[in-house]
Symmetry: C2
């Protein structure tokens, strides 16, 4: 069980933007974390289409937060970036592939557990993930 790189990168971009407090390019963020630019660019596009960041094109372009860090719930980011329909093979449209589909109590137990997971994350805002912006930025720039 692993958080997808998709969510991981989404959260990293948002944290970098929250720490910086101004525009950053995908190249900047990729370099700062030492992670793949291509994957990060796809996640940045998705962050824009989900309304978490706004993007400006051009030489001085880049991303910036479209909402205040205090207003972005961590659970909402994970909800939109994790594919929870694939959490077990009986979630989503593949349920009929399992012999015990409909007579097994695992599905509601796991659904509830995932809700509890996301509910817990809803107790955190993006601002909570960057408790000290200066120290966070110092690490990114280094």
């Amino acid at each position: 069980m692993q958080l997808s790189l998709h969510s991981d990168y989404a959260l990293r971009i948002l944290m970098a933007l929250a720490a910086k407090g101004e525009r950053l390019s995908v190249d900047d963020v990729a370099r700062q974390y030492g992670i793949s630019r291509n994957h990060l660019a796809k996640v940045a596009q998705e962050l824009q289409s989900q309304g978490f960041v706004s993007t400006t094109r051009g030489r001085r372009g880049g991303m910036e937060l479209a909402q205040k860090p205090e207003d972005i719930r961590v659970g909402d980011v994970v909800r939109r970036f994790e594919n929870l329909d694939g959490f077990v093979s009986c979630f989503g449209d593949n349920a009929s592939g399992c012999a015990v589909n409909g007579v097994c109590g695992l599905k509601p137990a796991l659904s509830g557990a995932l809700e509890a997971f996301l509910d817990h994350l809803d107790g955190y805002r993006l601002s909570d993930l960057v408790p000290n912006r200066k120290r966070f930025l110092a690490r990114l720039v280094a």
Copy 2:
């Protein structure tokens, strides 16, 4: 984010044993669910070493539950079969690989969310996953 096949198969073996109420071989269980015998055999060994099942060798051998279905907490099974140290790259021993390790608030947020996930599953016993043994068995035998 997906439950590992390891946990999935562990739960399936335990559910089949709870429904049957007597000994089953790995071959039986693999055939009944239509899943890989080799992978299932490894999981069965692990279920034995973790004390969930006991195994008898020989022609009429097989696995049976080492505890009552009412006494096996689903959270405990998942805890022992999921590798949660790898949930994100900063868990476990790889934390130093991340630029913002120590100044980022994501790790405690995710740790707490995983606890909430497991706590929720602790509210279910193996017996809850097989609410109707006859109907469950009918599907397996079919």
